[in-house]
Symmetry: D2
Subunit: 287 residues, 4 copies
């Protein structure tokens, strides 16, 4: 699963039919590519086809920039959703935060040691609290204070900023605001959220309190793509931790912090390595 300097990734989904792998692998072979990792899945119920291919481009017989053009006819024939990416190209990413630092620090630190293939171009917050942390990692930090009346206007300013910076992916790192449907639609399957429960248990606010009061023996965290419906988007990754009667609500929050940052970080890594395809309300994750 290591990243490769000179690799090419194709991520594609379409209605299933015979011959897809043959056609795709032939396309790669003809252009001098050597497939290093191929993961294919057919949804047996929906009859949808999903594939991720990583190939070495060392002996590529054409400029990489022309690969997309060359693949276009095939993709059209398949009626596919698809993208081709170089492994070396980093995804332009913006992080949204409020006041909690743990998820932000986790992402900034991991990125600083090269764990992600992302370029964190900027951080947006409704509070100034985390500006010093952003500064430590040299990332521009933009504060947009929110009140009852300015949400729509602020979102337009934020979108403007995101567009100016050619942002591809948004990470909500415990951002305590709900984005408008208009905003969400613009970045469909490109906004990654972390919810601090084992969805679909404990939807909404105060999931740790809900978990504490229900007396569960395991808590969880869930990273998902944001959709219009709160906490209903396609799940990317989940993880859990044991708790017991000895754990207070504060203990659940503490243990949950570890879950949140690990699960969100994993989701971002999977996304940045182009390992996730959306299948209706679910995901296909080629891990």
């Amino acid at each position: 699963m290591s990243t490769l300097e000179s690799g090419v990734i194709l991520l594609l989904s379409c209605a299933d039919r015979a011959g897809l792998v043959s056609r795709i692998s032939h396309f790669i072979y003809k252009r001098g590519g050597n497939i290093l990792d191929l993961d294919e899945h057919v949804d047996p119920v929906e009859k949808n086809f999903f594939v991720r291919v990583l190939w070495s481009a060392e002996k590529l017989s054409m400029p990489v920039s022309e690969l997309e053009d060359a693949f276009l006819p095939l993709a059209k024939e398949f009626g596919a959703l698809w993208k081709i990416r170089l492994t070396g190209r980093k995804t332009k990413t913006a992080i949204f935060v409020s006041r909690y630092d743990h998820c932000l620090l986790e992402i900034l630190w991991r990125n600083s040691i090269g764990e992600f293939a992302v370029d964190i171009a900027l951080i947006i917050s409704n509070h100034p609290d985390l500006a010093p942390l952003a500064a430590q990692y040299g990332i521009p930090f933009h504060v947009f204070p929110l009140n009852r009346d300015n949400k729509e206007m602020v979102e337009l300013q934020e979108i403007d900023l995101l567009q100016q910076n050619s942002i591809d992916t948004l990470v909500l790192a415990r951002y305590m605001q709900v984005l408008s449907p208009q905003f969400v639609e613009r970045y469909q399957n490109r906004i990654i959220n972390i919810h601090h429960s084992f969805l679909p248990a404990f939807v909404g606010s105060s999931p740790y309190r809900q978990a504490y009061e229900r007396g569960v023996k395991i808590i969880g965290a869930t990273s998902h793509y944001v959709t219009e419906e709160l906490d209903e988007g396609p799940i990317i990754e989940q993880d859990i931790m044991r708790v017991s009667h000895k754990d207070t609500l504060d203990d659940l929050v503490r243990k949950g912090r570890d879950l949140e940052r690990l699960v969100l970080a994993k989701a971002l890594r999977l996304h940045s390595e182009h390992r996730i395809l959306v299948n209706g309300k679910k995901t296909v994750v080629f891990d």
Copy 2:
């Protein structure tokens, strides 16, 4: 956590106050007991006190049968819920099943090699299917066919049978029927159920189908004491297993079977070793 032939267990809960451990441990010491394992917990919110003490009765200065009488005044003073049990004494248990064999086999086999401190006196089912399995382990198997009209009458017959056999604890090993509130009340905190989801996610029927359709990355199972409200009883134990987009609904059912039998078996072991106290809608589990 091994069982001890000649040990005594006290399981007790009451409102917290200073001196409880001192009084209880003094009581034991005075009677020649040597405490081998003591676990105490105070709920910091509700201010309730919970304790489990295991002591060696080798040098017990009085017949074990008199211990309860001797302890009664203290228990009254504390306003406690409590019981004293010998580690060697097996809990009389009945298992309720329908057609799935995996939980029943798990319990019968574990009991046959001495993992539980239970005496499985009988098995009750609304179907005859598992009679041969019961016969292999030499356990009486009673069939009470259920239809739309006879539930009330059947429950009376079942209760009669349970009482004749001095049954203390009931295990619903994937028993696909809902017990009446009257039945449940009679065996409060003594009916152990296994629900095939990570409660409170996927309450009710077809939890694997619900999980499959939601696209979760982890499935679970939950063992709990049965209360009047379906799937709302105090949780004893939960566990989980990873699933992926490759898993079909059948795979979830298959993986879930392993969870169900392990979680139910663990809950029964904890219960039979007198390690569980109920704290409102939750449990205190001294594992």
Copy 3:
């Protein structure tokens, strides 16, 4: 991961080179196959190629029995180790046991409900203890008592029995004897063992005692293919369980039993679904 009545599986490894996926998928496509699941891996250090392909044979343009012949030239060209199997065809399997019943019961039960694609043709033991369990599941049980002097002769008798029954795969379900190198060589990568530790920790005898004395906080179990060197074969699957200072040696044995049977069962399932390729001293497991 469900089994398919009319599917075909190709499992293949060879030295890596460009075009392998293209050639293989083209071969399948030309014969009317529709690939349902393809998992490919290239070892980046050894430059070896591994693939498992599952395709639907519903519209197969030729008898399945001719597929192997048709594929042979390609396989020769690649210098590949390979096999083609129908998903419906069960692997002929023999189980070796001594006195512990837990692994045997687990396998027999799982097989009885269709979890494995295996045909358990017979059970071999050096003790008569588990004959009744074998009888419950209707499996022939052969006892070969072992003493200091007869091991060589007994192995010859066992091999004779295995050959008469066209046994493909052997499962050592806590079989407490070491097979001779001659025996092992005959069934290379087809003898599955369960070792009751987290290999390479606690090689050899009494791993639970070793774990107890070392004071580890986690115990494990390991399933691996048997090679000449004891406990050194390619690892198929491992799993672990938490232990604490409260756990006695007996508790470790009890907890370990659950690990052993789950890990061995998973290894057998992976093997029976043709998901495992050996890569030197390691395995590639397409799970």
Copy 4:
């Protein structure tokens, strides 16, 4: 498990005998203490007694500073190893690092949000690399470059520094040097190390490489008290993570980093909350 501002903790071990809990709890009760959490364990093999008691000191009838003096006669009678600590009092701690930042950052960040009851007084390193990270958290950073000849002298300087700062506990946060027996003896059961394998597997150097070459399916990390024998000290905490054939050596290192920092952090938290007693070559951890 939350910390309490005004709590008192007794951690004690001695040879077992009847009456210990009674005597200790009576001592606490007499002084107005209300026990909030008591965990007691008797090693059934070695017949050693271990206890951790947390009691509320709100109504304490004497200055806390006199508790130790008051308890001394009892401790002497029991021949006990023991300590009494206020929950509010932070343990003076020094961290030793080399060049890896992940464990250091984890500890500094967790401490900054109050997860540990430690006062990180200083950081010692044989390299200057992590000075900026120490500066971000305002912790004095001391560099002691090591070469073939100066180890003995450097250790004396380090001990001098530790003593000047009244350091109680040392954390080796991936410190790539072996401490001398003289050094270790001085801080017996007070030096916490993190080893990047699942001990006792892969002792010594390059455990990830060893794990990669062996083809294990699970990697681990182990935190233990340092003793004279390398990687042989009493184990405090272990955890594991799944790996597969897809994982390169770099992936193992990356996944292992998460294990290392979580396991070391947990060990430090347990130690700082006085939850660990050493039992020969093992630990008793009252979690």
